[in-house]
Symmetry: C2
Subunit: 112 residues, 2 copies
DNA sequence: CAGAATCCTGTATGATACTG
DNA sequence: CAGTATCATACAGGATTCTG
């Protein structure tokens, strides 16, 4: 994978959503469940992904130690920057979607 | 992952190497083994990756049906285009390598 | 040489239950 | 609410063997 960061099922999507603002864990989880045509992300995996992103300096974690605790997540400047790159790549794919689909169908037709 | 193509261990590297020219299966396999600081790619996985790339219209496969057979691989124009995008992303990471490493070390220090 | 078939293993992801 | 712990599973990747 390019650099072991965007190469998993959820990270890119998380980056995109966090690009829209600041979210608490549960909110973020709900939104991810809708935006992605995929299934819902498990609580455990969301925590893992956020930890990794925080570790890489892409996400900021803010804790308000009340009861119950409030934890919010947002992109760091570095994270916002990477999000732009991700969007660029998504744009690339979208603009080539037709060609790619055509290639796929041609391939599938010819192999039988 | 961004779009399920660059999100694996070998595809990006294959794209980069194929950007350097046309290769036969065994050659390509040898070069991948050196360029990547990683281990050697297995014959099976290389075949799988090349098939996928061919299906997406990114790689062209040319067979000369002699004995033994000669099969060569090269990028299509679409593949060459994607390779550029991949290089851009790699450039992004390289130019931020220091910041990322610093963030990682700060995180590891603070968690104990 | 290129690749198909088999078998095996590690890692990512997921479901569930529990806690500060 | 956010997170941890545990257990279970799916899939990518790898080793080996065989063949046109």
């Amino acid at each position: 994978m390019i650099f072991g960061l965007l190469g998993d099922r959820w990270t890119t999507l998380i980056l995109l959503v966090l690009g829209m603002g600041t979210w608490r864990h549960a909110e973020l989880r709900r939104v991810l469940g809708r935006l992605g045509a995929e299934e819902k992300i498990s609580q455990r995996v969301l925590t893992l992904k956020l930890r990794t992103l925080e570790r890489e300096g892409l996400v900021m974690r803010r804790v308000v130690d009340s009861v119950p605790p409030k934890v919010s997540y947002a992109l760091t400047p570095l994270g916002a920057d990477l999000r732009q790159e991700a969007e660029r790549l998504i744009g690339w794919v979208n603009s080539r979607a037709v060609a790619i689909r055509a290639a796929r169908e041609a391939f599938d037709r010819s192999e039988d």
